[in-house]
Amino acid sequence: MTSDQQILESPLAPKQTRLEELWQLFKQNRLAILGLIIFVFFLISAVIGVILTSGQEPVFDPAMIRLQEKLLPPLTRPNIETLQPAEIPTLGIYLFGTDDLGRDVFARMLQGAWVSLTVGFVAVGISVLVGIFMGGIAGYFGQGHLRYDQIIVSCVLITGGIFLALSETYTGIGVLIVGHAYIFFSIFSKRILAKRTLPKWFNLMHKGAISIDTIIMRTVDIMLCFPTFFLILTVVALLPASMYNIMIVIGLTSWMGTTRFVRAEFLSLREQDFVTAAKALGVGNFRIIFRHMMPNAIAPVLVSATIGIAMAILTEAGLSFLGFGVPPPHATWGNILSDGKRFIFDAPWLTFIPGIAILIVVLCFNLFGEGLRDAMNPKLREKG
């Protein structure tokens, strides 16, 4: 053993974790660094913003109306004589001016930053979760087939559910019982049926009808066919207006890209030796998918998520601009822009400030995402 140890104390590979290596590569891309800095700045100001603009007596009150102070350009001092003490802005100056109701645009921008941030992150979080789940299933179990009887039973169960929803209670329960009876039967009948010769139709029912991969990936194709923005508009018009509905709707209409990425990664990862090795250790399927394979497949997902956040912020701003977004008293960058467009010649700052904020944030997310992609992709690395 001692001789073995001497041999093994030979020089080792340089001590550098993957994260350090990634940072080394990322650092070289100046635009991406700029993106990261603005991203962090945006993050901090959004978090500070929500703290300072919410509560009973916020430091910056975005809803404070001062009609005598309306449409003041940026960096004007308030006219202290006409204002109540409570109405004087905390900074003693209207940093971004005031809007048509005399509200402080700076406070409204701070409040809107938090909306943009949460909509971006939560919507992308939803879409990434759904995408990883669907892509993981399609990539790992994709070769498996759903059988005819499984499809028929799920249709029966769904019909039962619809009957119940239409308050046809007895029919609904009846249909559900039929469906469950079949499931029960197929679980416990394996041993009984094993030795008998079965009728032809029964074997046909147990044949694979459609592969799981086909179902999921064709669903992705169908979802991609819809013009997303108009789909969101339709859904938002039907749902009660709230920030959470918008997050969920944006999330549920943008998971398709992630699904494709994850599936593609999984198809190649599935054949890797370490997956077989994990199976040989007795690791279960879902643990293999989510603990062993997912961290290896996360890189492209992360990149598309960063760019996805930019898209979600843009979508939310667009919805708010059209008046379908977060309901009015709450400020978002989209509805500040929308409110300001009526005064674009008298008070251009009302449109320019939120517009430029959206532009900068979306741009920095894109730059950051692309920098991340370049650093993670060894093929692009050599060219640069």
Partner: protein, 321 residues
């Protein structure tokens, strides 16, 4: 002695569009507790498929177990459902793979991976888990194991990675380790270290090893008994001495003659003419007959039975009987 593992007439076929590749076509062998059995053969003769089938890791489709039984401690593994099979894997039968470079997950530290091998099958406190991981690394001869636990696979050398793989296989004290060419990707000095390591572990823990290799030098070093495989069937089995001193199948003889030896220096190396048949188009009769210099007319039509040559020494060649 009772067999630990008994493979009986195992058949594994792979289905492509319109052809069937009979990768394993009636393989039978036994492993007794505490012994090392080698499965020897050329690339593509079905060694790895047989090993994966024991653990039921054949991807299906396209692979399909067409027949046979695999008894492990008296239980037929092919009858178990997936949850019971997961309890066998790693816990009772562990496997060491050929490529230490790709068999470790690149995103986890080796401590995580060895730890997982334990926690999958046992409930262990975090501190005890850490101690056991350190002990395992110490057992397999990795220096300063406490620091190594935090290393990622790419920070280790090939030999060290293979040691880590062995540590993971040993984690739950299995009864049987299947080693699928564990030294093929390593250079000769490291190979010798790994072989010595496996031998010493086996003596300490009295476990059985099914060692798959194409390297007869390794076989001579490690095996108690040898099964020679050709085109999905076992053509000769016996203990190591019998196989090396008195090979009774033309294929085994050919393999042994192909070894470079010191006494034959300067002479042309022997090679078996032809190549391994495509598993989808095996010749009828004895699968080796197109390459065999002893082949007679019956070899072309009749699949040979096992002939006995001595205690436990069987060969599938009636001509050399």
């Amino acid at each position: 002695m009772k067999n630990l593992l008994s493979v009986q007439d195992l058949k594994v076929y792979f289905r492509a569009k319109d052809q069937v590749a009979r990768a394993v076509d009636g393989v039978s062998f036994d492993i007794r507790p505490g012994e090392t059995v080698c499965l020897v053969g050329e690339s593509g003769c079905g060694k790895t498929v047989s090993a994966l089938t024991i653990l039921r890791l054949i991807p299906s489709p396209p692979g399909e177990i067409m027949g046979g039984r695999v008894f492990f401690n008296g239980v037929d593994l092919l009858d178990l459902d997936e949850t019971d099979m997961q309890k066998i894997r790693g816990n009772h039968i562990a496997m060491v793979f050929q490529e230490p470079l790709t068999s470790l997950n690149p995103v986890f530290t080796i401590g995580d991976q060895i730890g997982e091998a334990i926690t999958i099958h046992e409930q262990v406190e975090p501190e005890e888990l850490r101690e056991r991981c350190v002990q395992l690394l110490r057992d397999i001869g990795i220096p300063s194991p406490e620091q190594r636990l935090k290393d990622y696979p790419h920070q280790l050398s090939g030999g060290q990675r293979q040691r880590v793989m062995i540590a993971m296989a040993l984690a739950c004290n299995p009864d049987l380790i299947i080693a699928d060419e564990p030294t093929t990707a390593l250079d000769v000095t490291v190979q010798a270290q790994i072989l010595n390591l496996m031998k010493s572990i086996q003596q300490k823990a009295s476990m059985s090893i099914l060692y798959i290799t194409h390297d007869l030098g390794v076989v001579a070093n490690i095996a108690d008994r040898v099964n020679v495989m050709y085109a999905g069937v076992i053509v000769e089995m016996g203990d190591t001495y019998q196989i090396f001193q008195n090979p009774r199948h033309p294929y085994t003889q050919g393999l042994l003659a192909s070894l470079p030896g010191r006494s034959r220096r300067g002479r042309r190396l022997h090679s078996i003419p032809g190549a391994v048949p495509n598993p989808a188009f095996k010749p009828p009769g004895c699968p080796f007959h197109p390459r065999c210099s002893f082949a007679i007319e019956t070899c072309k039509t009749r699949f040979p039975e096992m002939c006995k040559h001595g205690e436990g020494h069987l060969s599938r060649c009636p001509v050399l009987d």
